[in-house]
């Protein structure tokens, strides 16, 4: 891989998520989005404020990935999920469940944080069952 470049806005967001202080951006109409943003992607408003994510997210969909790219080779099989955290949905890897279709359900509650990718130690958005593990 090429040398890690910094991605201003995203890197700070990931650091905050790792510190348990994850946030989304919100416009006055309440549309949520993820940084970096100069305008709300829904309505174009340039007035964006940071809003905390919900403590617990809800799994809206998931898949069990068996065939992974090189950066996730040692992580597979893993559960990929999209979870609703209030102002926005997040996409991440769900750990702490068995990686099969019966190991998780739509509607499950999850917490979000940042952990290391098994393959190369790079930071990864990770969900874990809420209140468990």
């Amino acid at each position: 891989m090429s040398a890690p470049a910094s991605n201003a806005g995203y890197d700070e967001w990931l650091d905050a998520l790792a510190d348990g202080e994850g946030y989304a951006l919100a416009c006055p109409d309440g549309h949520g989005s993820l940084p970096p943003r100069r305008v709300c992607p829904e309505c174009g408003s340039a007035t964006l404020t940071e809003e905390p994510l919900a403590e617990t997210g809800t799994v809206e969909t998931y898949s069990v990935v068996h065939v992974a790219g090189p950066r996730f080779a040692d992580d597979a099989p893993y559960v990929n999920a999209v979870a609703d955290f209030g102002p926005v949905r997040l996409t991440g890897v769900l750990r702490g469940v068995s990686p099969d279709v019966d190991g998780v359900d739509v509607g499950d509650g999850v917490a979000v944080g940042v952990e290391e990718r098994a393959t190369d130690g790079e930071p990864l958005v990770v969900f874990r069952p809420a209140g468990g593990e």
Binding site: S63, V65, V67, N80, L90, T91, V93, D100, V106
Partner: protein
């Protein structure tokens, strides 16, 4: 406004050609299109060329002039990139150029070379059609993204892996007589169900293969065809394009594709027709669930109702609305940047009556092509009609 006509189509066999360069693949398709059209190369005024991952696969950027040269053209040449909808956009811009009177003859199509890369690198290459920061770094693969949509669909509307397996079986059966198809082999519903998982709920036969190939179309104005005695019985009467939020998680509904709704609405309005007028369709079935979502966006079924279309025989070769008579991306193959052009080429052959599956749609006059990029953050729809 002049009518845009398809004067000729050219395809390579879709499949595994790991030793063939992209320039050789595209030249093959282009030369076949010129021969089919009976239009001299000197008359071509523009080349619109689709390609997605050539910079990764062949370390080759700036491909449009290279492909013009390979096809023996000396004219303005532009590469279009919209992930899996790259050639669809290239065709759309050719149609708009001809209709606007800016050119009488435009070549549109595309090429992708993929099998020269190891599978894990192709997986990573295809993933770049998703949002790098919020999806790819979070483990989303191309099949994984459609698996997320399939799960969301099952949760919202019901349906099962068996319904999807019927889509795979149908498209494999359609590919049997198609000389350009990658997999001319039957796959049974049970075989599809028993195949190894890729990204559950999707298994191997829910996914299109990794494919090399190229497509080319010669698009001409109605006047050019008349003046030069060019036989071009199929007109592109409608074109539409739509865009959605890039990341799946940002979409309003995880099991719908509104970019394709918008593209279809625009294309139907342009052609002055509606979904009930369509006789045959080629849709973007990169995964079986994608065909279901396409049928709903094209207005053939309400949301949540398209899942049973193949199982119930509506979209099979002898059904009311045959879908993917070419074999689709699923069995014909999906050389990403060539696919949108290939769909128009197959529809043209079907409507002209010279496709091996034309017998299933003998009286067909209206066809629709649906080409999607990524998880349908981009979509292009075209309406083709037998010219009156």
């Amino acid at each position: 406004m002049t009518d845009a006509r398809v004067a000729g189509v050219g395809l390579t066999r879709f499949g595994s050609h790991p030793d063939r360069t992209g320039r050789d693949l595209f030249a093959t398709a282009a030369l076949r299109a010129f021969e089919d059209a009976g239009v001299p190369r000197e008359d071509v005024e523009e080349l619109n060329y689709g390609n997605f991952m050539g910079a990764l696969a062949e370390h080759q950027g700036h491909q449009a002039p290279l492909m013009a040269e390979a096809a023996g053209l000396n004219c303005p040449a532009t590469r279009y990139e919209e992930a899996c909808a790259s050639a669809g956009v290239a065709v759309r811009e050719a149609v708009r150029t001809v209709r606007a009177g800016d050119a009488d003859v435009v070549v549109a199509g595309g090429m992708e070379r993929m099998t020269n890369l190891p599978t894990d690198e192709v997986t990573e290459g295809l993933a770049i059609a998703a949002d790098d920061l919020f999806e790819v770094r979070a483990g989303v693969t191309f099949p994984g993204a459609y698996a997320l949509m399939a799960s969301a669909y099952f949760d919202a509307y019901g349906g099962s892996r068996r319904d999807l397996a019927h889509v795979a079986a149908k498209n494999h059966e359609n590919a049997l007589p198609n000389e350009y198809a990658q997999y001319r082999r039957e796959v049974s519903v049970e075989e599809a169900l028993d195949a190894p998982p890729v990204a559950e709920p999707l298994h191997l036969y829910d996914a299109c293969p990794i494919t090399d190939g190229a497509s080319a179309l010669v698009i001409v104005s109605e006047e050019y065809a008349a003046d030069h005695d060019v036989d071009a019985p199929v007109a592109v009467t409608g074109t539409g394009q739509g865009t959605d939020r890039m990341a799946l998680a940002d979409r309003e509904h995880l099991a719908r594709t509104p970019a394709a709704d918008d593209a279809a609405d625009a294309a139907y309005a342009d052609a002055g027709i509606g979904p009930d007028d369509v006789d045959v369709a080629e849709v973007h079935d990169c995964f079986t669930i994608a065909e279901v979502l396409a049928l709903e966006s094209l207005g053939f079924f309400d949301p949540g109702e398209g899942i049973g279309a193949a199982r119930d025989g509506v979209t099979t070769a002898d059904g009311d609305l045959p879908v993917n008579l070419s074999g689709g991306l699923k069995a014909k193959g999906h050389p990403v940047g060539a696919t949108g052009g290939s769909q128009i080429a197959e529809l043209t052959r079907l409507l002209r009556g010279d496709h091996p599956n034309s017998g299933h749609v003998g009286d067909a006059e209206v066809g629709v092509a649906h080409n999607a990029g990524g998880t349908v953050a981009s979509a292009v729809v075209h309406v083709l009609e037998v010219a009156k």
